[in-house]
């Protein structure tokens, strides 16, 4: 099962749209679910995501226009419980211990957060933490230039394969990471 994870697009306030390379990659029919960390910000972006697949899950970011998104979501894919949260609620932003606290609170196997606009994927205590970064490379409060990145998860029952797409020097690169649930 293919799950797309992205967020922090900030369209149209900080960036005008997704990078051309990424747009070419994302075609309907391949991805089955989308998990979005938030800060999209407008309805048009939500509609665009819905054209890729009908099953889109979004959580609220601090710059989202729509106030009705929930703060946190937990979805079950295969044998994984995946927690989704934007990350601006966690102070300090991106702090590992705080993320671990949130993961324990939500009782999830994979925690996906955003807000830092920096790609991260690591494992602690058999739990995985993923940050897809910003798919558009929008600037952050602390960082004015970020690498556009998003993540595609391939979940098969108890094994997780992560494909990280990053746009470096006008060309996209793909990295492959594998995790297995204990």
């Amino acid at each position: 099962m293919l799950v797309l994870v992205l967020g922090d697009l900030h369209i149209p306030y900080r960036v005008s749209g997704l990078p051309h390379e990424f747009r070419k990659l994302l075609t309907p029919g391949r991805i089955q679910h989308i998990l979005c960390t938030g800060n999209l910000c407008t309805k048009e972006t939500v509609d665009y995501l819905k054209t890729l697949t009908a099953d889109v899950h979004i959580v609220r970011g601090d710059f989202d226009d729509n106030p009705n998104f929930v703060d946190q979501k937990v979805v079950t894919v295969g044998q994984f419980r995946i927690g989704l949260c934007h990350g601006h609620q966690i102070v300090p932003w991106g702090d590992i211990e705080s993320l671990r606290m949130l993961q324990r609170q939500m009782d999830v196997d994979i925690l996906i957060t955003g807000h830092t606009h920096k790609f991260e994927a690591f494992e602690r205590d058999n739990k995985f933490f993923i940050n897809p970064g910003s798919a558009t490379g929008a600037y952050n409060a602390l960082n004015s230039s970020t690498t556009p990145s998003f993540v595609l998860m391939d979940i098969q029952q108890a094994s997780l394969t992560l494909y990280v797409y990053q746009l470096i020097n006008e060309k996209f690169t793909v990295e492959r990471l594998e995790y297995r649930k204990a």
Binding site: L2, L25, L26, T27, P28, G29, R30, I31, Q32, H33, T53, A54, D55, H57, V70, D71, Q72, K73, V74, V75, T76, V77, M106, L152, D154, Q156, Q157, S159, T161, Y163, Y165, V174, E175, R176, E178
Partner: protein
């Protein structure tokens, strides 16, 4: 007194013993009685009246014969009395069964009856010969010759009834049909159990229809479709080899691309890759074909529940959840996830958790089908596979191995009856491997039908248009009148015979009839399904009365919705006749 005596000995033991007549097991083979039928049927009344008439006439004859000597003596009454009693005894004997002959159910099968009749006869003799009783009943001892005369005279009633039963036999036809069926099974079994099978003889036998509900049809088709060689001793080896091969095909074709790329790390193959050599790209491309196959297989034979039931032999790799294997239908049916939303309530500060526990199902083409679809396509419990999923897998493997031809809508209708025959085989050893056997037989069949499904052959002589033209030429030879009518009404063969010819008539009739037609079709195989053209001509000819009097619209409607209740045997008969007379 005598009348009283008759009453006692007739209504007593013999009638009671008729009630404990042993059960006739053939009653079960008859259709059930209608609840509204009268209990005293016309037949019963006729029987009663007949027996009464015969007994009365017989008795009166005896009386008249005795009276000819002019005097009324106790002898006359005794003779009449005895005759009447014996008449009653023989009547009771014939009443033991309403339809069967006495020697069929056995003269001695009802012990109570024998005992009762014996006692009655003893009683009767006592009344005649025992002096005190003679006084009571006013009888006279009669000579032994007279007694024998009565005994020989009274079976008249028995003969009358047995003869009546002969004429009333309605089930005679059914009995001979049953015998014929048994005989056919025996012939087939004998032929199929010999070490080297006589193909010509098998074809002749199969042409007249394989007996249903036995493993014979499944075995015969395997031989006729060139899956099994004629040398029986080589079967076990050949079969195990082919089945292993099929399993290999499954492993080759249905593995997920994500696992393979772990070996080479130079260029990472990712799911969004559109390059032609990417295994992910190939995976998604074949999903498009799979979507079509899935849609077609789900609605295979919708009036049968068979294909929606779970199979007893699901694919082992999928059931054991080996890495990379997933049920084919899961590849294209996407579902939305089970979601739990957690939000901090601004009013109370408490964490609220909401979840939607029922995920809905939808197809990957974007259309959202909600709860109604759930009921339409009932998903079986995890670990079960429905028969249509097995067919889906066979077709998928076939399409991958024959990429030039791929999958064309309609192939599912051809594989359906084949798989049904193999999967309903009463022998477990054949039933277990129905999937692999179906794959090979289907492949073999498709080598003959391939041209019908490929676009590039459409305009050639071997393609579907060529065949329709051949059909039309044959129709011209066999039934010029109808041919002229079609010409006048502009009824081109494409309008009706396209489906007949491509799908081998599987859509025109109910499944049992289709199986019967295919028996004859496969048995005639060496002439490249020419017999199919004769069958189509026969179908048209048998409807000629309606066609000749119908308008164009009516005729088109009739031909496109050929009555599925038409007698298939008549069609076969006509087709054989046509084949004998006209040559293509």
């Amino acid at each position: 007194m005598q009348i009283l005596w008759i009453n006692i000995i007739m209504d007593g033991p013999p009638a009671q013993s008729l009630g404990v007549e042993p059960v006739d097991h053939d009653v079960l083979r008859k259709p059930p009685r209608k609840v509204t039928d009268a209990m005293i049927s016309k037949r019963l009344i006729i029987n009663m009246v007949t027996s009464a008439t015969v007994i009365v006439i017989g008795t009166l004859c005896v009386f008249y014969a005795e009276m000819r000597d002019g005097k009324v003596t106790p002898r006359d009454t005794t003779m009449t009395f005895t005759c009447f009693v014996f008449f009653d005894m023989f009547n009771a004997l014939s009443c033991r069964s309403q339809t069967k002959f006495i020697f069929e159910i056995g003269l001695f099968s009802n012990r109570f009856f024998l005992v009762a009749v014996f006692l009655s006869i003893v009683g009767q003799l006592a009344v005649i010969y025992f002096p005190p009783l003679q006084y009571v009943f006013q009888t006279e001892a009669i000579s032994l010759t007279d007694l024998f005369f009565c005994f020989a005279y009274c079976p008249i009633i028995l003969f009358v009834f047995e003869t009546k039963k002969i004429f009333e036999r309605p089930n005679e036809y059914r009995i001979t049909r049953m015998a014929l069926y048994q005989k056919t099974i025996e012939e087939f079994s004998k032929l199929l159990q010999s070490d080297t099978i006589d193909l010509k003889k098998l074809k002749t036998l199969a042409f007249n229809g394989c007996p249903a509900n036995s493993g014979i049809r499944s075995l015969t088709w395997k031989i006729l479709l060139n899956y099994l060689v004629l040398d029986r001793t080589k079967w076990t080896l050949h079969l195990s080899k082919q089945r292993e091969l099929y399993r290999g095909y499954i492993r080759e074709t249905i593995i997920k691309p994500g696992l393979q790329s772990s070996c080479q790390s130079a260029v990472v193959d990712h799911p969004l890759n559109c390059a032609p050599n990417s295994s992910w790209a190939a995976y998604f491309k074949e999903n498009e074909v799979l979507l079509q196959i899935d849609k077609d297989c789900r609605r295979l034979c919708p009036d049968l529940s068979f294909f929606q039931c779970k199979t007893e032999y699901p694919c082992a790799e999928i059931m054991n959840q080996e890495a990379g294997f997933e049920s084919l239908r899961k590849r294209i049916v996407s579902s939305s996830l089970k979601v739990e939303s957690r939000s901090q309530s601004r009013l109370t500060g408490r964490l609220e958790i909401q979840s939607n526990s029922k995920p809905s199902h939808q197809n990957n083409n974007g259309a959202l089908n909600s709860a109604s679809d759930d009921n339409e396509y009932e998903v079986l419990a995890a670990g079960c596979e429905a028969h249509w999923e097995v067919v889906e897998r066979i077709l998928f493997v076939y399409s991958k191995l024959n990429s030039g031809q791929s999958y064309v809508q309609g192939m599912n209708e051809i594989i359906g009856p084949i798989y049904y025959t193999f999967a309903t085989d009463p022998n477990v050893e054949w039933k277990e491997h129905a999937e692999a056997d179906t794959f090979y037989c289907f492949t073999s069949l498709m080598t003959h039908l391939r041209e019908n499904f490929m676009k590039i052959y459409d305009n050639s002589e071997f393609g579907i248009l060529g065949r329709m033209q051949k059909f039309l030429n044959l129709l011209k030879k066999t039934d010029k009148e109808v041919y002229d009518l079609f010409d006048k009404q502009n009824l081109k063969p494409e309008f009706y015979s396209f489906r007949w010819l491509t799908l081998l008539l599987s859509q025109e009739f109910h499944l049992p009839d289709v199986l019967r037609l295919w028996d004859s079709l496969f048995a005639d195989q060496d002439q490249n399904f020419q017999f199919l053209l004769y069958l189509c001509c026969a179908m048209v000819t048998l409807q000629r009365d309606q066609l000749l009097n119908g308008s164009q619209a009516q005729n088109i409607r009739l031909l496109q919705n050929y009555p599925p209740d038409a007698d298939v045997h008549k069609i076969l008969q006509k087709a054989t006749e046509l084949k004998r007379i006209h040559h293509l």
